[in-house]
């Protein structure tokens, strides 16, 4: 058993406890209290420090575009066909990617990571812990989403190959055709009809069962609407919008459709025409419109250890405020990833992922002091254990 004493606890879902205590047992939070918890267990003194739930990066490419390497470590886009649903991130993730330690050093304990946006249908993504030795032991959920992409990226990649899609119509065609086949495959299997086993089509079974969403990369508002029109309206599938740079333009539509947005990255120079409406104010406008919103680093686009600085800019310059901005990288991210039963806040019964900071993590001069993952101290006094 392990406890934290006298910390200023940002529970996220139940306010801030100025002088709080947390007890961990068996990898979970056993108790959160305003009074000292008595007992004979290891104690971490957090006096003068701030305590948060482990931070969550809801969209990244950790382990797939590995740091400190070129070709050897780049496994995020299988750009040999525009539809590759059977690609599984878990088969490529390198848990030795130094980015995992970078993530821990800033208190990020859970990430969503998966294929890039080179293909219209990219493959299966995972939710994983940032600490561990093998990918299998780090997995929280696999598959956790099926990556799809609209807009400039797929058409740019395939234009170079003079192959469809080279237009947005082409992208929609690939998408609709893949979904049509998958629906037929799923229905036939459901009706116990004999079908030839197809690994690509198998990837859609959890999607049609409603177990995982399509995670659709789209920046421009028209791409966002196309994605929802086809996936949700035509096929009845669940959709999460990735990036959603221009989502503000259709925020009321998104709120009405109950489609969530994982916004970002924002701490970079807008690289494309379709990213032109990038602004630190976007998350605030989405939240105000009632859209469930999280914030991504899109690591390596924004190095994952600077996730909280990016969130700080959204909080202050973007006007969202500290409390709401914290939700973008904790409870909102957990809700969109559908892991909020176990993650995203400091509450009794949740997994013991907790971070202690000296100074507010949104400050450039703050220091991450201690990181606890699954009830184990993995980072202490600014050093990896």
């Amino acid at each position: 058993m392990l406890s934290i004493e006298h910390g200023k606890i940002f529970t996220i879902t139940n306010g801030i406890i100025d002088d709080g205590f947390i007890l961990f047992d068996n990898g979970r939070i056993k108790e959160v209290s305003q009074k000292p918890i008595k007992g004979n267990f290891e104690k971490i003194d957090a006096k003068g420090k701030l305590v948060f739930p482990g931070f969550i990066d809801a969209h990244s490419h950790l382990g797939l575009f590995a740091l400190e390497s070129f070709f050897e470590g780049v496994d995020g886009n299988e750009m040999t066909s525009p539809s590759t649903p059977a690609m599984r991130a878990i088969d490529a993730i390198n848990p030795q990617d130094p980015a995992y330690k970078d993530a821990i050093s800033a208190g990020i304990t859970v990430v969503f990571t998966g294929p890039g946006s080179g293909n219209v249908v990219g493959g299966q993504s995972v939710i994983m812990k940032t600490y561990g030795n093998t990918v299998d032991e780090m997995i929280v959920r696999n598959p956790a989403g099926l990556k799809c992409a609209f807009g400039e990226n797929p058409k740019r990649i395939y234009a170079e190959k003079s192959q469809l899609p080279t237009t947005r119509m082409g992208t929609a065609k690939v998408f609709r055709e893949t979904l049509s086949k998958a629906k037929e495959y799923y229905n036939s299997k459901n009706k116990k009809k004999k079908v030839d086993f197809d690994l690509n089509m198998e990837a859609f079974i959890p999607v049609f069962e409603g177990k995982i969403p399509l995670r659709i990369h789209s920046h421009r508002a028209d791409d966002i609407v196309t994605a929802i029109r086809i996936a949700k309206h035509e096929f009845g599938l669940r959709v999460v919008i990735e990036h959603g740079t221009d989502a503000v333009r259709v925020r009321d539509f998104l709120a009405k459709e109950k489609v969530s947005v994982i916004a970002g990255p924002l701490l970079d120079v807008s690289p494309k025409v379709e990213t032109r409406s990038a602004s630190f104010e976007n998350p605030r406008k989405l939240v105000e419109a009632g859209v469930l919103t999280a914030l991504m680093t899109d690591h390596p686009v924004i190095p994952i250890q600077y996730a909280l600085i990016q969130t700080g800019v959204v909080a202050y310059l973007g006007g969202l405020g500290e409390g709401k901005a914290l939700e973008l990288v904790t409870i909102n991210a957990a809700k969109i990833l559908e892991i909020d039963k176990n993650y995203g806040s400091i509450e009794k019964g949740k997994i013991a992922d907790v971070v202690i900071y000296e100074g507010h993590p949104f400050s450039t001069t703050a220091k991450c002091d201690t990181v606890i993952i699954n009830g184990n101290i993995v980072f202490r006094g600014g050093k990896h254990v």
């Binding site: 690591h299 450039t364 001069t365």
Partner: protein
């Protein structure tokens, strides 16, 4: 006459409490703690600093939101030796990044061609504000970009041209400088190629040597010794491994960007601890944005990371004010003293914090940015 009440004033070297600054378009007339004289307009700020200088930027050359063709004039990757190129000819003054840089307190940039070529071309020092490029211009050409890194190899291997090795890269640089040395002696027939490199040999221009790895930095220094160049180590992620060599030669470092993914092996050493080590060992070090991908607008946020590593606030602020100004030979742009340029930024808090915002920016004594509401 304008008047600013500053809770804190960083004058380029030190932070002073409660200062009053009187200035107009001609210059800073007085700095004191109790100025009765009435100013035309009065500003109040938590923190006042000289306008920040981004010592190595691609702003205006690789533009925001314009994509890979229209918005990219950074790398003329058709020939590894292009000293004739001048940044000024490619800068788009209407790049949206300029107004954003300004609202981040960055008033001046040294814009340099990219790092694809062994010799990339010549830079231009500009204000990040103006109606057209001549209005923005401070001096040009100034600074010549050399690239000693994987980049030229990666680009030209694809074109089956030299350089495909570090030897080839060094050869191309040495060959161009040797030709210029010969040209200087005879000057038989005008050649733009050699003309563009002459001021380097005369030490009237600086060589911005873009390298990440220590061996590449050392190659740059070796070639600089050979041709008696005045080098500035640029990026310099492993320069802390060469502390003595850099100190001996009294060479400056333009370090950064700090907020950048270590996407290749040659970047593995990147950390805010490196520039702090350099500065604590007395090496003149500026911090750069490397814009893009990291935005010039947030140059100020990068220096917070240095403070977090234990560097003093004054020394951290100097990395984006006085130090780059000295390297550019424009010291009066890097400080706030009676008689210095009126290039000022007013903050509502500590400049390096995400929480703080720029309130007003003055260039040449005129207010060029004033925050009316949240961005």
């Amino acid at each position: 006459m304008y008047k600013i009440f500053a809770d804190k004033l960083f004058d380029g070297e030190k932070i002073f409490e409660s200062r009053v600054i009187l200035f107009d378009e001609k210059g800073i007339h007085h700095i004191g703690d109790d100025v009765k004289e009435k100013g035309k307009e009065t500003f109040r700020a938590k923190f006042v600093t000289p306008g920040f200088i981004d010592l190595a930027s691609g702003i205006g050359l690789k533009e925001e939101s314009l994509g890979k063709v229209e918005g990219n004039d950074l790398d003329e990757a058709t020939n590894p030796q292009t000293p004739e190129l001048v940044a000024l000819d490619g800068i788009n003054p209407y790049d949206e990044a300029f107004s954003k840089a300004l609202r981040g307190g960055v008033t001046k940039s040294l814009v340099l061609p990219g790092i694809s070529n062994s010799i990339g071309g010549r830079g231009s020092v500009i204000f990040n504000f103006g109606d057209n490029i001549l209005d923005m211009l401070i001096k040009s050409p100034f600074g010549t970009r050399f690239s000693l890194s994987n980049e030229p190899k990666a680009v030209y291997a694809g074109q089956k041209k030299m350089p495909m090795t570090r030897m080839g890269n060094a050869y191309l640089i040495r060959e161009a400088l040797s030709k210029t040395r010969e040209y200087k002696k005879t000057r038989k027939k005008f050649s733009l190629f050699e003309e563009s490199l002459l001021s380097l040999l005369d030490r009237k221009d600086k060589a911005f040597l873009s390298s990440f790895r220590a061996d590449d930095i050392m190659t740059g220094l070796r070639i600089s010794d050979e041709f008696r160049l005045d080098p500035v180590i640029t990026h310099g992620f492993e320069s802390d491994l060469l502390m003595n060599e850099i100190k001996e030669r009294k060479v400056s470092v333009a370090f950064g960007p700090l907020i950048l993914a270590r996407e290749s092996t040659e970047m593995r050493h990147l950390s805010p601890a490196v520039p702090v080590k350099l500065i604590e060992n007395g090496i003149e070090t500026a911090i750069i944005s490397g814009h893009p991908p990291f935005p010039a607008e947030f140059l100020r946020i990068q220096i917070g990371l240095l403070i977090s590593e234990g560097l003093s606030e004054e020394k951290a602020l100097a990395t984006i004010t006085l130090i780059p100004a000295k390297i550019l030979g424009m010291e009066d742009f890097g400080n706030i003293k009676e008689g210095s340029k009126v290039d000022l930024v007013l903050f509502d808090g500590e400049p390096w914090e995400t929480k703080s915002q720029v309130q007003n920016v003055f260039i040449k004594g005129k207010e060029v940015y004033g925050r009316k509401q949240p961005m």
